[in-house]
Structure formats: structure tokens, C-alpha cells
């Protein structure tokens, strides 16, 4: 019954990805809430700032990015929480697989259920906030890459706070400073496209941030879970 090691390592990733996607499918209401939050806050912006298109288009890219960041932050809190409470996190910790791979699977599921939907509805928000037409493709590309970074970094924060009773607020405190490079280059991508500049360089840096987070964040989250889940 012994399977090759590569397959074993792979099954840790795929098994947790499938499990989390299945769980998300069964709790569709919960999955929808970050997207609904994203849409609702966007109605506050014209109400709070101004309904004038000329002014909205200046802040559109930044606002969409900030809302995406907050929506991710709200949802990343639950990444390990339910697993911690029902004991399946313990199971994950004692499996012989390399811990970062199941974590990467869970984070991928998180991105597929929050980051990807946010990316997909973002053109609609761009339309409502009168984002100039040059900004749509950069917005979608940067959000797709950027929300993946946000999920990965958020996983470290979620792992650090999983056993705390009121971890949610602390989590945002820990993770928000780490999110700042992502938001800088995310908005820079969209804004340079709107200004008619080359928007690929900031997107490339966002890609570099993504590559670094894929490599490092699961490791950090694994280390953090080993510390926090046993306390």
C-alpha cells in the first residue's frame, strides 16, 4: 500500500483543498458574506465622499483595494478557527505529511472562496465608482495576485491567533502592517494604467510578493500552528 512520496505530499495539499472547498460549498451563506461586504461598503463611498464621477474615479482604485483588503481580513479569521474547535486541526498537525502543504491547500481554498469572487465582482464596483476604462484589466490582474498574497499572509496571522478567544481584532492588528506593500503595488498597478503608464512593473512586483509569500507563509503558519494549537 506504500505510495510514492511525491504523491503522498501532493495528497496532503489536494485532500485539504477538496475538504475545505466542500465545507465552503455546504456553507454557501458564509462564503457569500465577504463579497456582500465588499459590495455594501462600496455604496458607502459615494454617500460619504461625493457622488460626482470626476472625484470618484480618482479614488476608485484605492477604495476597491482597501475594501478587498478588509473583506479578506474579515474572512481570514475563520481559516483555522473551526478546525481548531472541532479538533481536525490536531489531526492535521499529527499527520505524517509536511505541514506547509495542507496549509497551502487550505489557503488555496480560502483564496478560491474569497479572493477569486472579490476579483470577479471588482469590475462591477469599478463601474459603480466610475473607474476609467483603462483600469479594468489591471484591476482584475492585480486583485487576483494581490488577494492571494493577502490570504497567504493572513494565514500566518490566523495561525498565530487561532487559540485566542478574541483573536479577530488582534489578527487584523498583526497582519495589517504586513499588507501594506501589497496595497501599495496593487493600487500602483491600477493607477499607472489609468495615468497611461506601463502598469506591468508594479504588477511584476506584486507577482514577486506573491512568490515570496507562497514560499514563506505556509512555513511560518506551520511553525505558528505548532506553537499555538497546543496551548
Amino acid at each position: 500500500m506504500s505510495r510514492p512520496t511525491a504523491r503522498k505530499m501532493d495528497s496532503g495539499f489536494v485532500a485539504w483543498l477538496r475538504r475545505d472547498l466542500l465545507l465552503a460549498y455546504r456553507r454557501r451563506g458564509e462564503v457569500a458574506s465577504p463579497v456582500v461586504f465588499f459590495m455594501m461598503v462600496s455604496t458607502l463611498i459615494p454617500l460619504g465622499l461625493t457622488p460626482e464621477a470626476a472625484q470618484l474615479e480618482k479614488v476608485a482604485a484605492g477604495m476597491i483595494w482597501i475594501m478587498a483588503l478588509l473583506a479578506t481580513l474579515l474572512s481570514v479569521d475563520g481559516l483555522f478557527a473551526s478546525d481548531y474547535h472541532d479538533g481536525s486541526l490536531e489531526q492535521m498537525l499529527i499527520t505524517p505529511q509536511l505541514l506547509p502543504l495542507p496549509i497551502l491547500g487550505k489557503v488555496t481554498a480560502h483564496w478560491l472562496t474569497t479572493g477569486l469572487p472579490l476579483t470577479l465582482v471588482s469590475p462591477l464596483l469599478g463601474l459603480m465608482l466610475s473607474l476609467p476604462s483603462a483600469g479594468y484589466l489591471p484591476l482584475i490582474c492585480s486583485l487576483a495576485l494581490g488577494t492571494a498574497c493577502l490570504s497567504l499572509v493572513g494565514a500566518v496571522g490566523a495561525a498565530l491567533t487561532v487559540s485566542l478567544r478574541k483573536g479577530g481584532l488582534l489578527l487584523s492588528l498583526l497582519v495589517m502592517p504586513l499588507y501594506m506593500p501589497v496595497i501599495i503595488f496593487g493600487t500602483a498597478t491600477v493607477n499607472s494604467a489609468v495615468d497611461g503608464l506601463n502598469w506591468l512593473p508594479p504588477l511584476a512586483i506584486l507577482g514577486a510578493l506573491f512568490a515570496a509569500s507562497v514560499a514563506l507563509c505556509p512555513l511560518a503558519a506551520a511553525g505558528a500552528l505548532r506553537v499555538t494549537a497546543s496551548n
Binding site: L160, P177, G223, A224, V227
Partner: protein
């Protein structure tokens, strides 16, 4: 003090002598007693260097051609900003040593470093704001370096918040060590941000690779102040660490003996 040295020498005897200091350093008691001997000298040195630098910088250094006397706040601002950033590395390295070698003392150093670093970051931001008013006409300007100092303050705040969130000392130490290491990844980005979107601030004045762009008469007191701040930082760190040692080791016999000896005589 003979009974002390006898007890101290009972360390891991099979280790080579060149590493013994490292293992001894890991013992909170050794650190507490030894740092007590260093502390007066270190404090005296810090006091002397800081006094020299302050008097030199504030009274004798030449006036700036454009900014007049208001530039003199640089003698507080720059050393504080320097130490705020190095302090984060010191904290993260202490945390890493704790995670790797499982040294109790380094977790205590890490915990002690966080509030000192946060305070220095605040001092750097505050003096920057005071300096900004006469120079730029505004207390707060969203420029790269100010923003990255603010992010640094948030990073410190995160480590401190996580430290206090756990009841278990072990979990608090390890979790905040991991967070400090994750935050270290952010620090190069903070430094790079000076190059990325440099806007209003002066470019970095002290470069280690090239000659200083400041005049020597202005630069020397600054150097003295930076050394002074490092010494002050060391004193503050040792004092905080000693407090933490006494708090965490309060149930051990040597702390009790120390306290009763102090109370008795």
C-alpha cells in the same frame, strides 16, 4: 560572592570552553548577576557619550545654512530612527535564537526589546513631526520614510499585543518570535521604500558606502549621539531584561535568596 561562583561553574562540563560562555549566557541567573556588574559602567558610558553629543550638537555644531537652528533636532531624530530600526532586528534575532536554541533568556530579551523599540519609533516620529513644521510647514506629511516608521510602530505594537494576549509564557514567547521574524521580512521593504517613492523627505543622510553628505562639523556630533543612543539602548534593554528575569524566575531559590538578602541588609 564565593558561593555564587561555585554554583555558576557547575555548567555543562563536557562542552568545549570556547562555547561555555554561550551556554552560560543562556542561564537567566548568570545573566542577571553578570549584567549587574556591567550596568554601572555601561550607564556611566551612556551618560557621558550622550552628554558630550548633546552639548556638542546643540551648542557647538555650526548652524545650518537653510534651516538655521531648527536642524539641531536631527541629533535626537536620526539616532532614534536608527535605533528604532535596529531594535526590531535585535528583537527578531533574540526571538530566532530562542526558537532555535530554546534559550529562555533570549525570549526575555525579545520581550524587553519590544516596548523600548516602540518608544524609540514614537520618539523618531514625534521629533520628525516637530522638525517638519518649520521645514515643510506641516506636522505630518505622508512621505515614504514617515509612513514606513509608522508601519514599524504598528509592527512593534503587533508583537507587544501578541505577547500580552497569551497567558502561557511559552506560547507568548514563541508566537511573538515568529511574528517578529515575519515582520523582519517587511523591514527591507521599509528601507527600499525610501528609494521607491521618495517624495518630500531628505534622502538618507548617512550612507555607509559613501562619504557623508553632511559637513564634518555637523556629522561628528551626530555620530557621537548615535553611539550614545546605542549605549542607552543597551542599558535600557538590560534593565528591562533584568526585570523580566526576576518576574519569570520569581519562584526559583536564587531570586528568593536575592530578595531576602536585599531586604535583610
Amino acid at each position: 560572592m564565593n558561593w555564587l561562583s561555585n554554583k555558576l561553574s557547575a555548567g555543562p562540563s563536557n562542552e568545549s570552553p570556547s562555547w561555555q560562555w554561550f551556554y552560560r549566557l543562556g542561564s537567566p541567573r548568570w545573566f542577571y548577576l553578570r549584567s549587574g556588574q556591567w550596568l554601572p559602567w555601561l550607564s556611566l558610558a551612556a551618560l557621558l557619550v550622550l552628554a558630550t553629543g548633546l552639548v556638542w550638537g546643540l551648542a557647538f555644531a555650526p548652524e545650518d545654512a537653510k534651516q538655521g537652528n531648527s536642524f539641531r533636532i536631527i541629533y535626537i531624530h536620526v539616532p532614534a530612527a536608527f535605533l528604532a530600526q535596529s531594535g526590531y532586528f535585535i528583537m527578531a534575532i533574540a526571538g530566532a535564537i530562542g526558537l532555535i536554541w530554546k534559550m529562555k533568556i533570549s525570549y526575555m530579551v525579545m520581550k524587553a526589546a519590544a516596548p523600548i523599540g516602540a518608544l524609540l519609533t514614537f520618539v523618531a516620529l514625534f521629533t520628525g513631526a516637530v522638525w517638519g513644521k518649520p521645514t515643510w510647514g506641516a506636522y505630518w506629511v505622508w512621505d515614504a520614510r514617515i509612513t514606513s516608521m509608522l508601519i514599524l510602530l504598528f509592527l512593534y505594537a503587533g508583537v507587544m499585543a501578541l505577547q500580552y494576549a497569551y497567558h502561557s509564557v511559552d506560547a507568548a514567547s514563541k508566537a511573538s518570535a515568529i511574528l517578529a521574524l515575519v515582520g523582519t521580512v517587511n523591514i527591507p521593504i521599509i528601507n527600499k521604500s525610501v528609494d521607491w517613492w521618495y517624495t518630500l523627505h531628505q534622502p538618507a543622510t548617512i550612507k555607509l558606502t559613501s562619504a557623508p553628505s553632511m559637513h564634518m562639523d555637523m556629522f561628528m556630533p551626530l555620530l557621537v549621539m548615535i553611539v550614545g543612543f546605542y549605549l542607552f539602548y543597551a542599558v535600557a534593554l538590560i534593565l528591562h531584561t533584568r526585570n523580566e528575569i526576576l518576574r519569570r524566575e520569581r519562584k526559583t531559590s536564587w531570586v528568593r535568596e536575592l530578595v531576602t538578602a536585599k531586604a535583610g541588609g
